[in-house]
Amino acid sequence: SVSDASGALPGANVLVKGTTNGTQTDFDGNYTLDNVDSNATLVFSYIGYKTLEIPLNGRTVVNAQLEEDASELEEVVLIGYGSQRKSDLTGAVGQVDADQLQERPATSLNQALSGKIAGVQVNTNSGRPGGKSNIRVRGFSSINSSNNPLYVIDGVQLPQGNQANFSSAIDYLNPNDVVSIEVLKDASSTAIYGARGANGVILVTTKRGRAGQGRVTYDVEYSVNQFGPNRAKVLNAEQYAMIEQLSWENTQKFDPEGWAAGNYAQYEPRLKRANPNVAYLFDSDGKAIYDTDWSKEVVQHKLSQNHQLGFSGGNERTTYAVSLGIRDAQGLLKNTYLKRYSGRFSIDDQIKTWLKIGGSLSYNNQTENLADTNDQVPRRMVEDYPFYPGPLHTGGPLEGLYANNRDYPYAEGTRNSVNWLENNEYILNTQTTTGSFYTNLNLTKELEMRTVIGANVLTQENNEFRNSVLDNNAVARAQASNEKQTFWSIENYLTYNKEINENNSFTALLGVSWQQSNQFFVNADSRNFPTDYFKYNNLGAGSDNIAVQSFADREALNSYFGRLNYNLYGKYLFTVTGRADGSSKFGDNNKFSFFPSAAVAWRISDEDFLVDNTLISNLKLRTSYGVTGNSEIPPYSSLSLLSSNYAAIWNESRVGGTGLNRLANPDLKWEKTAQYDIGFELGLFDNRISMEADYYYRKTTDMLLDAPVPQSSGYATIRRNVGSMQNQGVELGLSTKNIVTADLSWNTTFNISMNRNKVLSLATPSDIFGVGGPGITNETSIIRVGEPVGAFWGLTRLGTWGTDEAAEAAKFVSYRNGLTILPGDIKYKDFNGDYIINDEDRSIIGNGYPTAWGTLTNYVSYKNLDFTLELQYSWGNDVMDMNLHSSEDRQALANSYTTVLDAWTPDNQDTMIAQVRDTRAGYVTNVDSHWVKDGSFVRGRNIMLGYTFGQNLIERMHLNKLRLYASAQNFFLLVDDELLGDPEVTPIRGGESNNVFSQGMKWHEYPKSTTFVLGLQVGL
C-alpha cells in the first residue's frame, strides 16, 4: 500500500521503472502490479509529494510512505485548462497561495492580490470599503477597450466588461472562498485564452473538500478605521480669517478699476460676517468663535466585522465544502458601508472509476452605500468653513439647520460634507449567482475528457436618493436602475497524457468552447416628491419623471483551442498553443481569428554538470512568444447604427428623434498583442534563496480605436483597428529563507517590476485628447505617439512674477479675466515667446506610471508567534494634484489648503503660489507643472502579529487550530514633502471610462484609512 503521514493515499502512481507498466492506488491506498521482474525498481509518485524509488529486491509486497514535498518546484500550478508542476512550466505564471492570501484582510480579490506578484500592478484608488482598484498585468495593452485581465474562477471565465458602478464582476467574489490565485502573464500561458488573453489571465481556485476527517473552520475579524497617513492640511478659522481679509484687500491691486467703482465693497469680510445668518459665529471683534476640523465631523469609528464559517469533508469517493460568510465593513466616512452575505457549496464525486463529476454553486448578496460616486463629500470636507460650529448651526436664524458654506455671503453655493453624507444615498444591491458543473471522463488511462458548464448571473440594483435639503429648490430626486447580466459557457476538452518512454512524454489538449452574455438595463429617474419618505421606493410619486431608459445587448464567443506540452529527458520542455476565436462583436469579414504561441524551457539544473551542485539547486531558462487578443469593445461596434436618443422640443414637450450614430466598419477585427518573454528561475542553497526574473516585450497592433474622422462627415470617430503601442519591462521576484530552525524562522520576499509604455502609432497623426481628468479644467491628458499613453498635459509654471519684473509681466496678453498680469501672478513659460499663454505653450509635464514598483515582505515566526511586515513601494510615478485648482489657486470662495500661507507677498516673492485675492478680481488657474508632484512612496501596507495556541491546549478544547492575530494596515506612508494626500488615486468625477488613463490624477478621492484588525481563527 501507499500512504502519507496521515494515512492511506488513494490515486498515487506506481510505475515499474523503465517500462510503461504501472497502476494507481485504490481508495484504501492499495495497489497490485502484475508481470514485474523481481529485480525491478518501483517508482511511486503523487502530485505534491516527493517521488520515491524502491528496488524490489525480490519482495512481492512493497509499502511506500510518501513524503510531502515542501519544495515549491513540486507545487502544482494551474494553467489554462489544466495544471502542471511548477518545474515543468514554460511560461511566466505568478502564484499566490492560501497562506499568502491570509496575510492581510481584504474585501476584494484584487486587494488580496495587490503586491503579491511581480508584474501585476494593483492600485487601490479609493478608501471606501471594497475600494476601487485598478489592476494591470504588464502595463496597458489598449486605448479604447478594456485593460482589465480575464478572470477564470474554477475554470469558468467571468465576463470582462467595464467597471459599471465602479466595480467589476470579480469584486463580488468573497475573497475568503479563494485558496489560490494564479496569474498568467506571458503569451505562452495566456494564448490558450486567445482573444481574451491580452491583458493577462487570473485563475482563481476556490475551496474544495478533501477526503478524510471532516473540518470545521471559523474565522472572525473585527476592525476599526481611522484617517490614513499624510492628510492634506486646511486652514483653521484664524488662518482663514487672515487669508480672507488679505484676499479682499489685494483686490484693490488686482482690479483697481473695479475697486474704485465700488464693485468689491460688499465683499469686505467685516460686512460678510455681519450677515444675520452667520453673525452669531463671530465675537464683537469679528473673531471666529468656533474652529471646526471637518475631518473629524465626517468620519465614523464604527466596528466592522467579518465572520467566515466553513465545513468540509468527504470520503474517498465524495468530497464537499460549504462556506458561509457575513461581512459588515463600515467605511471611514459616515454612513458608508459594504455588507456581504455569501454562501458557497461545492461537491466532487468519483461516481465511477472512469467518471468524476462535481460542481459548485455560490451566491453573494452585497449591499453598499457609496460616498465617492461624485466629489461632493471628499471635496467639501476640505472646503467647508472652519469657523462653522460643525454640521449644524447652533445659533442665528438658521439654528438647527445644516451649516452650509452657501449661508455665508458670496461663498460658493455648496452644502457641507456631513449634509451630503447624511442626505445622499447611492445604494448598490448586487446579487451574484455563480454555478459550474463538470464531468471528467477517463476514456482510457491516458485520455480524459472534461466538460465544464458554467453560468453567472449578476443582478444589480442601483438606488439613488438625494434628499430635498440638498436641492436648491427643495426638490428631492430619486433614481432606480436595474441591470441584469446573464452569462453561460460550455467548454469541452480532451487531455491526452502519454509517457512514450522514460525520456519522452507529452500532454496534448484539444477543446471547444461556446460562451454567451446577455445584458438588460432599465433606469428611471424622478423628481419633485411630495415627501422625502419614499426615497427610490415610489418613483411614480414624483411630479417630474425626468427620464426612462433601457437597453439590451448580447455577445457571443465560439472558440477552438489546443495545446501540446512535450517533455524531453525531463530537462527540455516545449509548449505549443493555438486558439481560434470567433466573436459576434466583429465585422462580418473578420469574425474568426487565430492566436498561436510557442515556448521552450531548459531545466539546466537537471543537466549532469549541475545535478549534484551544492550551490545551485534549481536553474531554469525559458522563453516564449505568442499572440493574444483583446475583444473588449461594446457589441455592435462594426454596424452602421442610428441613434434614437435624440430629443427635440416641440410644443414644450420631448419628441424623440432618430439620427446618425455610428459609422459602419465591416472590417473590424481583434486587437492583437504579440508578446516575447524571456525568463529564468534560480534556486540556491537547496532553494533557500530562490529567484524568478522575466523580461518581456509586448506590442499591441490593430489597436481598437475610436479613431477620429473628419468631423465634416457629421461623425466624430469610427471604430477601427489602427495604431500600436508597446510595453516592455522587467520583473523580478526574490524569496529567501534567512533563518530556518525548529523554533525560529525568518523569510523574506521581495518583488520589483518595471514597465515602460509607449504609443507607437495612432490612426492619424493627431493627438488624442479627452482622456483622463475630472473635467474641471481644459485638457489634462494626451495620447501622443512616442509618449506613454495618457501623459499629463499642461503649461509649465516657472513661479510668480516678481516686483522687479512688472514691466515684463505686463507685456503678456492677459491670462486672467482680461486684466493686466501683475507681480504676484503666476509666471508661465512662454515657449514660443509670443507673450500669449495658450495651447502653443502646453506640453507633456508628467505621467502617472511608476519607474518601478513592488513590495518587500518579511515573515518571522518564533515558536507560537508569527509576525508579518509588508511594505509597498512605488518610485517615479507623478501625481497631478488637481485639488490645487480650487484649494490653492483661489481663495475666499471656500476654505483652502494651508499652502496658501506661502503665497506671494512683497516680502515672499520666491514662491510658486500666486498672491491671494478675491477670485472675482481675476485669478489664474491652469493645468500646469506645479500641480505635478513626485508621487513616489513607501507604504506600510500591513503589520501583523499572530499567536497560535499550543497543541496541548487546543487538544483539550477539541480543536485542531486556534490562532489570534492583530494587524494594522496602511499604517505609514513615506512621500515627498510637496505631495498633499495619498499618491494612489484616480478621480471619480469625469466617469469611470474616462479615467482609465487617470492613474495618479488627484481630485478629491474617498480618503484612505489606517485599519486596525483583531482576528481569531478556529479549526476543529
Binding site: 447604427l641 414644450e652 420631448r654 432618430t658 462627415s713 495658450n838 472675482r920
Partner: protein
C-alpha cells in the same frame, strides 16, 4: 448554430431598416432640431459654446478665470485648439449631416406630400442655418450635401469657396420658402416667416464683408419687407420683460428660437448669472463668466429703457434667492435671458424649471435688417426710419425724422441700434465682421475692426480675427483641409 456569432442591436436601428413611414420622417427631422441645441452646450468648466460669439466682441467680460479657453477668447489669443472653436465645427457639421440624412431619405418615403415637403423645408432651413454659421466663422468650408459613409468620395473634403457655400444656403432657403410651411409656428418648428427672415439676414451678410455683393442689400430689404408687410401676429412685444417670459415663446416677436424645456434641456444662458450671488432659487451659484463690460453698459443713451434695472437688458439688484429681499449687486448683469418664472421674483418663488428659449431671430432684428439694407440700397426712406423708430420707441428714445437723416447718419444710427438692441444674442460678432466696424463704447462712434481695442481685455482686433482658425485636429485628420486661415499658423 450557424448564426451564433451573428449580431443585431435590439436597442438601435440601422439606416436600412428606417425611413419608411411618415412617423419616421418626423423622428428624423426631430434629430436635426435636437442637434441645433449644440449652441447652448457646455464648453468646459463654467463656459458654453455660445460664448465664442460673445467673448471676442468686447461687450462682455468675465468674473472667473477658471476656463483658460474662455480666457483666450476674451483676450483674443484663441487658437486652432480652443475648445469652443472645435465644438462649433463639430456642432454645425453634425446638424448638417443629420439634415442631409433627412433630405436624402425622406423623399422616398410613401407619405402625405404636404407633410413631406414641410419636413424637407425644415431640413433645408436648418442646414442653411448651420452653413451660415460655418461660412461666417471660417470662410471657405467643406460643402457636404449628401450623407456620408467611411467610403464616401468626399469623406476627406477640401474647402469650398465661400461663394459656393452661400449659393447653397440661398438655394436651400429659397426652396424652404415654398415648402408649404405655415407663416408662424408656435410649436417651435420652422415657419415661413423664419425662412424669409433668415434669408434676409443672409443677403445682408452677403452684401458686406467678405463677399461685398452690394446688390444683395436690395434683396435683403425686400425679403425683410415681406415679413414686415405680411406680419400677421408678428410684432414687437410692448415690454422687454415679455421677450424673456417663458410663456411667450414662439409668439409675437420670436420668429425663430432654439427650444428649451427643463424636461429635456433647460435654458443654456446660465453663465450670465453673477458670480456666486444669490439671485435665483439656487442661492449663490452663478459663474459670472459672461457679464456686461461696464463701458458698453454706459454707452446706452440716457433714458434708454433697456438699461432700467430689472426691466431692460440689465439688472443691478435682485431678490435674495430669487424671491427674498432686494439686494444690490454692485454692478450690472445681463437680464435679457433671465427667466423670472424659473428663478423667482419678489415674493414668488421660482419654479426651478428654466424653459426659456434661446432666441435666434427676433422681429426687432428683421426691422433693423430692413432699415439698414434699404438705406444702403436706396438711401433713407420713411419705411426705413419707421422701422428704426419702432425699436427706439420701445426704448422710449426719440428718433430723428426722415429729413434729419443722411444715408451716412441713418447707417450709423441703425448699426448702433443693432449693438444696443441685439447685444448678448450672439449677433454682434457677425455684425463686426460683416461691417468691419466696431462700436466704440467710449466715443459712441464706430472704429474700424482692425485696430479696435476691446475694452474687456485691452487687446486690439487684428485682420486675422475676421475668421476663426480651422480646428487643428480636424486639419490633421483631414489632410485635404488646407490651408489654415491666415494668421493662425
Amino acid at each position: 448554430c450557424s448564426d451564433f456569432l451573428d449580431e443585431s442591436d435590439p436597442s438601435n436601428l440601422t439606416p436600412d431598416s428606417f425611413y419608411t413611414t411618415a412617423k419616421q420622417a418626423e423622428s428624423a427631422i426631430a434629430a436635426v432640431y435636437a442637434d441645433a441645441r449644440f449652441v447652448g452646450n457646455g464648453a468646459g468648466i463654467f463656459s458654453s459654446n455660445w460664448q465664442l460669439l460673445e467673448a471676442p466682441t468686447g461687450t462682455s467680460t468675465t468674473q472667473t478665470a477658471q476656463n483658460s479657453d474662455l480666457n483666450n477668447l476674451y483676450s483674443l489669443s484663441y487658437d486652432a485648439n480652443t475648445l469652443h472653436v472645435r465644438n462649433w465645427w463639430r456642432g454645425v457639421y453634425k446638424v448638417i449631416a443629420n439634415a442631409n440624412l433627412v433630405l436624402e431619405n425622406v423623399p422616398d418615403i410613401d407619405m402625405d406630400e404636404g407633410q413631406k415637403n414641410q419636413i424637407l423645408g425644415e431640413a433645408r432651413f436648418l442646414r442653411a442655418w448651420a452653413y451660415f454659421y460655418a461660412v461666417r466663422l471660417w470662410g471657405d468650408v467643406p460643402l457636404i450635401t449628401l450623407p456620408q459613409s467611411a467610403t464616401s468620395e468626399d469623406f476627406f473634403p477640401s474647402r469650398s469657396p465661400l461663394k459656393a457655400v452661400y449659393d447653397q444656403i440661398v438655394a436651400d432657403l429659397t426652396a424652404a420658402e415654398s415648402a408649404g410651411l405655415s407663416w408662424t409656428d408656435e410649436s417651435g418648428r420652422v415657419s415661413q416667416s423664419a425662412v424669409k427672415s433668415l434669408l434676409a439676414k443672409v443677403y445682408l451678410t452677403m452684401a458686406g464683408n467678405p463677399l461685398n455683393e452690394t446688390a444683395r442689400y436690395a434683396d435683403a430689404a425686400s425679403k425683410a419687407k415681406e415679413v414686415i408687410d405680411n406680419a400677421g401676429p408678428i410684432d414687437l412685444f410692448d415690454t422687454y420683460g415679455e421677450i424673456h417670459d417663458e410663456s411667450l415663446g414662439n409668439t409675437v416677436e420670436h420668429i425663430f428660437s432654439l427650444q428649451y424645456n427643463d424636461e429635456v434641456a433647460g435654458n443654456p444662458m446660465g453663465n450670465m448669472f453673477p458670480n456666486f450671488q444669490p439671485v435665483t432659487y439656487r442661492g449663490p451659484s452663478g459663474t459670472g463668466s459672461t457679464v456686461p463690460e461696464i463701458e458698453f453698459y454706459n454707452s446706452f443713451e440716457a433714458g434708454d429703457q433697456r438699461t432700467v434695472d430689472r426691466e431692460g437688458w440689465f439688472y443691478t439688484s435682485y431678490y435674495t434667492n430669487g424671491d427674498g429681499e432686494l439686494f444690490d449687486l454692485g454692478a450690472p448683469y445681463i437680464f435679457k435671458h433671465f427667466n423670472v418664472t424659473a428663478n423667482g421674483t419678489q415674493g414668488v418663488p421660482g419654479t426651478a424649471k428654466d424653459n426659456l428659449n434661446m432666441p435666434i431671430i427676433r422681429f426687432a432684428e428683421v426691422l433693423l435688417i430692413y432699415a439698414e439694407a434699404s438705406n444702403e440700397a436706396t438711401g433713407p426712406t420713411q419705411d426705413a426710419v419707421d422701422a428704426l423708430t419702432r425699436i427706439r420707441d420701445r426704448a422710449q428714445l426719440t428718433t430723428p425724422t426722415l429729413g434729419e437723416f443722411t444715408q451716412e447718419s441713418l447707417r450709423e444710427a441703425v448699426w448702433k441700434e443693432r449693438w444696443h438692441e441685439l447685444c448678448y444674442e450672439q449677433i454682434t460678432w457677425f455684425d463686426m465682421v460683416r461691417l468691419r466696424k466696431v462700436l466704440n463704447s467710449e466715443t459712441g462712434g464706430f472704429d474700424d475692426f482692425v485696430g479696435h481695442i476691446n475694452l474687456s481685455s485691452d487687446q486690439a482686433l487684428q485682420e486675422k480675427h475676421l475668421l476663426f482658425p480651422l480646428p487643428e485636429q480636424e486639419m490633421i485628420n483631414n489632410p485635404s483641409l488646407t490651408p489654415q486661415n491666415p494668421g493662425y499658423n
